[in-house]
């Protein structure tokens, strides 16, 4: 078995079988099962010698091939409990059917690949900013509610492949200085924020502690002013005027 074949990666056992059949120009409907089985096993053996990981599906296929091979050796006699009109089905039939179907899948995949390549060379331009043409504010959005928004986010989180967690590594140390910068950035953008706007969505407890310390620092240094318009109400934070321009 040529080494380049070994190093080529096959997407699965059917891919490998199809490769063996195609390179030898064998009729897919009349596979010399003994030869192909030997070649298939030789391939797996080479992989093993190279210490390459063999997916379990490849081993299952090896077993299937051996089973077919042995059944081909047995004389085919009509079984009494199956008064079939013809002789017993060809043991290769199921495998051939699978291979033929897989061949079409490969054809379609190849076609898609070409289309993808072609389309990746086509460029669009970003939509023009039509603000100057708009009579007033863009028409209000309709037909979307808050739960759709939340659902969108939830689905997104579900869609993202879960990261394989091998070991827990303590996250980076969150510096109070960095948090101060972040809070200031936010306040510069919004001018006034409530306490919960700033902390409501702090990702972890560690973040929360750092952020709180940062806020205390900012208040102490006079860069941020706190007020509570009503008893037990929200605490409003504002950038101290004139300090940050």
């Amino acid at each position: 078995m040529a080494l380049e074949v070994v190093l080529e990666s096959f997407t699965g056992p059917l891919d490998l079988l199809l490769h063996l059949i195609q390179t030898q120009e064998i009729n897919i409907h009349d596979i010399p099962i003994a030869t192909i089985t030997d070649q298939y096993l030789a391939y797996l053996q080479t992989m093993e010698e190279l210490s390459l990981e063999i997916a379990s599906e490849f081993l299952v296929m090896a077993a299937t091939l051996l089973a077919i091979k042995s059944r081909m050796l047995l004389p085919r006699t009509p079984r009494p409990d199956q008064p079939d009109e013809e002789s017993e089905a060809d043991p290769r039939e199921e495998l051939v059917r699978q291979l033929v179907e897989y061949q079409r899948c490969k054809w379609a995949a190849e076609h898609l690949k070409e289309r993808h390549l072609l389309q990746s060379q086509v460029y669009a331009r970003p939509p023009m900013d039509l603000a100057e043409f708009a009579p007033q504010e863009p028409a209000p959005l309709t037909g979307v509610n808050l739960w759709q928004l939340v659902d969108a986010y939830r689905r997104l989180v579900q869609r993202i492949p879960p990261e394989r967690q091998v070991a827990t590594i303590d996250g980076p140390v969150i510096s109070v200085e960095a948090e101060m910068e972040r809070l200031l950035e936010k306040l510069r953008a919004y001018r006034r924020l409530t306490f919960f706007d700033l902390f409501g969505r702090t990702p972890t407890r560690r973040h929360l502690v750092a952020a709180f310390l940062a806020l205390l620092e900012l208040v102490k240094s006079g860069m941020v002013r706190c007020s509570q318009p009503e008893p037990l109400g929200d605490i409003v934070l504002a950038l101290q005027e004139g300090d940050e321009a």
Binding site: Q98, A108, V122
Partner: protein, 189 residues
């Protein structure tokens, strides 16, 4: 009469950019019946092709878009310094092909065609929004059924699923046909 509207269509498609415009949106903007918008788009398409423009009119998904021609990709890549679009692995392409032709389809059925587990490839495709859950199979465990998305059509430059080429027929193999059978509504050729 058609000539001045061609200019208007050109301007409007240009402004819409990568968002594109549907027949209905065009009809609304140009104040023309939908079918006239379609023929106008085709006329513009032909005009662009004829004069060997650097641009082309494409119908992607359900929208008309003005885009560049592939032969100029070399210049655009230099301009945008964009990496070549991330390619899909052979396994992902296989899964995508199966979903495209046999949707809606479950993971198990995909695995069966490929002879190998497809979880990772499916996950990649879902993550890249090329396929999505389109329903549940009425079977134990109510497995997810997958179908292709609008992004799929756009990414592969297809107007609709009908633009997918028919699969090569397998002569004399009834059994094979039954599995990769096209829905009856699809045009042959």
């Amino acid at each position: 009469m058609i000539l001045p509207m061609l200019g208007a269509l050109e301007a409007v498609l240009f402004a819409a950019g990568s968002e594109g415009l549907t027949d209905e949106e065009l009809a609304d903007i140009l104040q023309l019946p939908v079918h006239e918008c379609r023929s106008l788009c085709r006329a513009l398409q032909a005009a662009y092709d004829e004069r060997g423009s650097g641009l082309q009119v494409m119908e992607l998904g359900q929208t008309w878009q003005l885009v560049t021609r592939p032969e100029h990709a070399v210049y655009l890549r230099r301009m945008a310094a964009t990496p070549m679009s991330t390619h899909l692995s052979p396994a992902a392409l296989e899964v995508l092909a199966i979903v495209a032709y046999r949707q809606p389809i479950s993971r198990l059925e995909i695995d069966h065609v490929r002879g190998v587990q497809s979880d990772r490839a499916i996950q990649t495709l879902v993550h890249r929004r090329l396929i999505a859950e389109v329903g549940r199979q009425d079977a134990p465990g109510r497995p997810i059924l997958y179908g292709t998305t609008q992004t799929f059509l756009q990414t592969f430059g297809l107007r609709s699923l009908e633009d997918l080429p028919p699969l090569p027929e397998e002569s004399g193999e009834e059994t094979a046909l039954s599995l990769f059978q096209k829905p009856p509504a699809w045009p042959r050729d």
